[in-house]
Amino acid sequence: MSEQKAITTNKLTKKFGDFTAVDEISFEVNKGEIFGFLGANGAGKTTAMRMLCGLSLPTSGEATVAGLNVYKENEKIKRSIGYMSQKFSLYDDLTVKENMRFYGGIYGKSNAFIKQKTAYILDHLHLEKEANVLVKSLPLGWKQKLAFSVAVFHAPEIVFLDEPTGGVDPVTRREFWNMIYVAAAGGTTVFVTTHYMDEAEYCDRVSIMVDGRIDALDTPIRLKEKFNAASMDEVFLKLARKAARAAD
């Protein structure tokens, strides 16, 4: 079963002392799917994502990523995934090219692969002129697009994006989503958290977390039908308003 699934979780839980950040969540993500992981601030999205990426050890429950167990095979999982964190994750004091070379290198890619892929990305992002510019001098939108390109540089099976478009202008956000579509069309599973409800509409399926639990999981169209809402925005508000946990 899990052969066809990119991610499976069963009652996955993370507690910090008395506080249950993630409370027995169970879901499956299909291969090649764009899976939207929604929730208010503090709902537990990032913690859940960190457990799947092997950055945080679950307290209880089961989970597999790319068919590998998150408890025992977490280092193997890392070969199959890409991750783009909330914080900007490239090295500011390295150039665009050097960042790509570094990340390609530590994933064990050959020099030929790195060279070819770097040229491809520079061409697609129209960054040829900026190839040897320090990343810190790029505008935020470009940085985010570059960070995504670096996260999928080693052609991972699954890519985790934690609020990748935070603070980015609408035009760049649109371009960013085009990049996500291209990656998904190439067979990469995309697991993305966002606060923008228009972006939720672009996802194949969406889950909404409230107080550490998944309260809804379906395609955007069916979620709107179910909650009798005109937009994902309305669906989200209906669910998130009942949250007991204070947003941070």
């Binding site: 900007f88 490239l90 090295y91 004091d93 390295l94 050097e98 290198g105 530590i106």
Partner: protein, 372 residues
């Protein structure tokens, strides 16, 4: 191995792109080694002396001339009232009072003995101690001259006198710079080793790039080695600059071999870099790392035998110095630079330092977690 190559390439690029690190690497040894040895000198000069001369005789003037001609003392006040001299001490214009009683010359000639009074400001204990010791030895010399002048016979002095002649081995001129410079060089390497490595990793924590590294298949061991090696090399470069300055500015050429110094320094750097690494695994911000390493450095320096001799410390402090890597390196540097000790002579130090390096680095690697 290939991963390590990419990690090292990244670290070197970042280090050489940071002008503050470059400045630190080259300026710190130059400034510390050119300035500190002149200030950190135990030799006390320019002691301000108040003389209360109640005698105003030939001998009293002769004595004062002898005292001031040594260069260690400056005649601050010359008076015949003790309260006036004391006032000068109280206001900080004088450190020592030498009182010559009114019957000094007379008693010396007639009764063959006289008494001088010495009072010192003991707020600065070191200065007071050394000052009075210098003065006493000058007075003794003066005394001897007087005796020669007056007591020609009998040839054998009725009082048996033991005269001590000392010979200063390994540092014949008792040049304090020979003693301080190797020690300061050790402090320099220690500071560069702990600070640079701890701040570097904590910086990645602060920016968030460490998270990105933690989701990659990079092994902890490779990541840490990638961090250690550049600073290890920088440490050896700083040592080289430091040894060059010691030679150029102070003419210090190690009696022992450079191989011994570099061999120990190579091991020592791994130990202090491990300490820096360990600090970085506990600290969340650069400020925390700085404060923590600053605190550790204070203890290391004060209990390292640079300024005060470990042998004269209380037992508990001696025991603490055994856990201080700095104390071993200072000892080794002085042994090699002044005495010419070789690798075999510092075998015990090498073994202990190897222990430090293994323990500190293992602790750091265990404590560095890719998963929380």
């Amino acid at each position: 191995m290939r991963t390590l190559k990419f990690l090292l390439q990244k670290e070197f690029r970042q280090i050489f792109r940071d002008p503050s690190i470059i400045r630190l690497i080259f300026m710190m040894p130059v400034i510390q080694l050119l300035i500190l040895p002149w200030a950190a000198d135990y030799e006390i000069k320019n002691i301000k002396l108040s003389v209360v001369d109640k005698d105003h005789s030939d001998y009293s003037r002769q004595l004062i001339a002898q005292v001031t001609s040594t260069g260690y003392f400056q005649l601050a006040v010359y008076t015949n009232s003790y309260p006036e001299a004391l006032e000068q001490v109280e206001s900080g214009n004088a450190d020592l009072i030498l009182e010559i009683p009114s019957s000094f010359e007379k008693e010396l000639i007639k009764e063959d003995e006289s008494t001088l009074f010495l009072a010192m400001n003991a707020i600065d204990g070191v200065k007071a101690n050394l000052g009075s010791a210098y003065l006493q030895s000058i007075i003794q010399d003066f005394n001897k001259e007087v005796r020669i002048e007056w007591i020609q016979f009998p040839r054998f002095s009725p009082e048996t006198q033991i005269e001590i002649t000392s010979s200063n081995w390994f540092n014949p001129l008792m040049n304090y710079k020979y003693f301080m410079v190797p020690g300061i060089l050790v402090i320099l390497l220690t500071m560069i080793g702990t600070n640079l490595s701890s701040i570097n990793i904590v910086r990645e924590k602060e920016i968030g790039t460490i998270e990105q590294i933690n989701v990659t298949p990079v092994k902890k061991f490779h990541f840490i080695l990638g961090k250690l090696l550049p600073f290890w090399l920088i440490g050896l470069v700083v040592l080289t600059i430091g040894l060059f300055i010691s030679w150029a500015a102070y003419g210090i050429v190690p009696v022992g071999s450079f191989i011994t110094i570099y061999a120990f320094a190579a091991l020592y750097l791994f130990a202090v870099l491990g300490l820096g690494l360990l600090i970085s695994t506990y600290a969340q911000t650069q400020q925390q790392a700085m404060l923590l390493s600053f605190f550790i450095m204070m203890v290391f320096i004060l209990l390292g035998g640079l300024y005060t001799s470990i042998d004269s410390m209380p037992d508990w402090a001696k025991w603490v110095t055994r856990f201080n890597p700095v104390s071993y390196f200072i000892e080794v540097m002085r042994m090699v630079v002044l005495k010419g000790s070789g690798l075999i002579d510092i075998k015990r130090h090498l073994l202990i330092m190897f222990g430090f390096a293994v323990v500190l680095n293992s602790w750091a690697i265990i404590n560095y977690r890719k998963r929380s």
